[in-house]
């Protein structure tokens, strides 16, 4: 344990930690902050988010046909209120926009009409008119829920059809804005964690080989066990970095006020998403967290072994750039974001993670075994 503590101190040396803070800060500013500052992103996203909350308050996490009829009645009432709003304004009556229906279908190409519509929507930003648009979208989603059958490109299997039918029948209420926002955020957080681990773990073996401390390490009582101890240190460090990054992220994510949706089922006609499993948003978040940990631990082994074998830092970067591109462009989308979606076979995710764990374990045991016999020349 004493050696692991020493090795941890070497990984978390002040200079490296400061650099990691700077990298994280810049990354947040460039990619992540946007999804905190602009959530929900404009209108009618804000209205869709608000109305989704209102729906959950009124109907619970599912909406049946009767409740949908009520939802439509509320829409009609608001429409009447919009009619009254328009009729109370002379300029709109004179322009022939005395009902919401006419306002909605007005030819905005005509300058005078366009200006009147813009006045309500963009200048005064009258909530009622934005809300009406949002309600129309949600009603449309519900009424056209059979369009879920087209979310998969290829012909549907019987199991996929079954899942879509279940989702349509469920009437689950979930905000597409909240789900999309989380997926965007967790994608970038996963990327930041991968960068952090690559940055912090890469020197673990290379540093000692470059300054020849490895000769002292291997010739002392601890001997080649140090290799295994360093790998364990890398796991602890990677776990700590991942936890810190996720901790910071969820601390900031609290500001997005999505608590009400945590118990929502993510299979919903309103998000236009269908998954193999009946997961609540909270369970989905947990699943993404577990996925990130599994991914980072496998990555940690690969980065550590690269650090042991690469002759210099440039080679490490050379190896890691294609690895990072593969992770950012492909792996995260399949193994972290929208995991268990029905577009992929039901066994894809468990198989992919079993494969990942097997690869990680193989690299781990192979490298430990190899290190026991390797000649330490340089």
């Amino acid at each position: 344990m004493r050696i692991i503590l020493y090795e941890l101190k070497k990984i978390f040396q002040l200079k490296m930690v400061c650099l990691l803070f700077i990298i994280s800060f810049i990354f947040y500013q460039l990619f992540i902050n946007f999804y905190f500052e602009h959530f929900p992103n404009g209108r009618p996203a804000l209205d869709l988010y608000r109305i989704s909350m209102e729906m959950i308050e009124q109907y619970g996490y599912q909406m049946n046909q009767e409740e949908f009829e009520h939802f439509k009645k509320v829409y009609e009432k608001e429409k009447a209120a919009a009619d009254a709003y328009l009729q109370a304004r002379q300029e709109y009556v004179e322009a022939g926009l005395d009902t919401y229906e006419k306002f909605r279908t007005a030819d905005t190409e005509k300058q005078e009409i366009g200006e009147l519509v813009d006045q309500i929507i963009f200048v005064d930003q009258v909530d009622l008119f934005w809300e009406l648009q949002a309600r129309e979208t949600l009603i449309e989603y519900y009424e056209n829920r059979d369009s879920l059958f087209s979310i998969v490109d290829h012909p549907l299997t019987a199991e996929q059809k079954e899942r879509i039918k279940d989702t349509i029948a469920s009437g689950n209420i979930m905000s597409a804005e909240v789900f999309e926002n989380y997926n965007n955020l967790i994608r970038y957080v996963a990327i930041l964690i991968i960068i952090s681990i690559m940055f912090m773990i890469s020197p673990i073996f290379l540093q000692d080989r470059r300054n020849h401390v490895v000769f002292l390490q291997y010739s002392n009582k601890t001997g080649r066990k140090i290799f295994n101890l360093k790998l364990q240190t890398a796991f602890i460090a990677a776990g700590f970095i991942t936890t810190m990054q996720l901790g910071l992220f969820f601390l900031l994510y609290r500001g997005n006020k999505v608590g009400m949706f945590l118990d929502s089922n993510i299979n919903s006609v309103f998000t236009h998403e269908v998954f193999w499993f009946e997961l609540t948003f909270f369970q989905y978040i947990l699943l993404t967290i577990v996925s990130i940990y599994l991914l980072t631990f496998t990555l940690t082994i690969i980065v550590a072994v690269l650090s042991n074998r690469a002759p210099n830092y440039i080679s490490i970067v050379g190896f890691q750039v294609p690895l990072a591109i593969l992770l950012f462009a492909v792996v995260i989308d399949y193994l972290v974001v929208r995991i268990t979606k029905i577009g992929l076979p039901i066994y894809f995710l468990p198989s992919a993670y079993v494969l990942l764990i097997l690869i990680g374990s193989f690299v781990y045991f192979w490298s430990v075994k190899k290190e026991k016999k390797v000649d330490l020349l340089h």
Partner: protein, 293 residues
């Protein structure tokens, strides 16, 4: 006792050491050979950093690879390229080495203070090593090798970077230590081992050429070493006929120490050979090659 038994080491087709047989008991052993002769390869095998391609190394009758940490805990090693962390102080670094040696924390702390005093680094014990001179770093290296009070102390080019005063002190320290342990001192500097080594091991052409006391080894060229003074203009011709060991100017003449197998001339004075003479004679080809380079 440490025994090297028919040990060879090759890397693919390249043979670095061939059928090495050696025995070490308590005392100082000077491993003497020019750079690149295979000293470090032998030392790396003795410190388990590399493994023999054939043969075995036994410590008290058991293969050192099988002994594993039981062997390594008896070992103190100063590598030729001594590695350290620039931002660590000697105290921090030695504490880390103590952990690697599996020593108790309290024992390590006490030992660190003793050793830093011994190598005259107590005043800079908590200063970062990045500002240390080569000699100071080497003294930290010596301290870390002795931290666990090893039964086998292996030092690869230990005096590199030490000033003459430090060298003398270091030699005295080794003589003291060697009373109850094996000290193997690898060097290409003859004076490092001449005064303290009980035995000298010379490696040439990947094999042990000589192993014995300095007197025994010097017998190799006994009766062949002479000194004479000649005018400068005769020097070039003279050196073609003999093997020159050293030259210096004296009273307007060139005083030359040399080896010759011919019948001595009246102007030649026979002198007692020393280890450096043997070294220069044995490795004359290697030395000429490296001078040509």
């Amino acid at each position: 006792m440490l025994v090297v038994n028919h040990v060879s080491k090759s890397y693919g087709k390249f043979e670095a050491l061939k059928d090495i047989n050696l025995e070490f008991s308590n005392g100082v052993y000077g491993l003497l050979a020019p750079n690149g002769a295979g000293k470090t390869t032998l030392i790396k095998m003795l410190t388990t950093l590399i493994f023999p391609s054939s043969g075995e190394i036994l410590y008290n009758g058991t293969n050192i690879t099988r002994l594993g940490e039981k062997y390594r805990e008896q070992l103190g090693y100063l590598p030729q390229e001594f590695g350290y962390y620039k931002n660590y102080s000697p105290k921090q670094f030695l504490a880390y080495i103590g952990a690697l040696k599996g020593m108790d924390k309290k024992v390590v702390n006490k030992k660190i203070d003793e050793l830093l005093k011994l190598v005259a680094l107590e005043d800079v014990a908590t200063k970062k090593m990045k500002k240390f001179s080569g000699g100071m770093i080497q003294r930290v290296g010596i301290a870390q090798a002795m931290l666990n009070d090893p039964k086998i102390l292996i030092l690869d080019e230990p005096t590199a970077g030490l000033d003459p005063k430090e060298r003398v002190r270091f030699r005295n320290l080794l003589s003291e230590l060697a009373r109850d342990r094996i000290v193997i001192l690898s060097t290409h500097i003859v004076s490092d081992v001449e005064s303290i080594a009980n035995e000298i091991i010379m490696i040439k052409d990947k094999q042990v050429l000589y192993k014995g006391s300095i007197d025994e080894i010097c017998k190799v060229i006994a009766g062949m070493v002479y000194e004479t003074s000649i005018p400068y203009e005769q020097a070039a011709m003279f050196k073609k006929e003999v093997f020159s060991l050293s030259e210096k100017q004296e009273d307007g003449l060139l005083k030359i120490r040399f080896i010759s197998k011919k019948t001595p001339e009246p102007t030649w004075t026979a002198v007692k050979p020393n280890l450096e003479d043997v070294f220069l004679y044995v490795y004359r080809d290697d030395i000429q090659e490296s001078s040509a380079i």
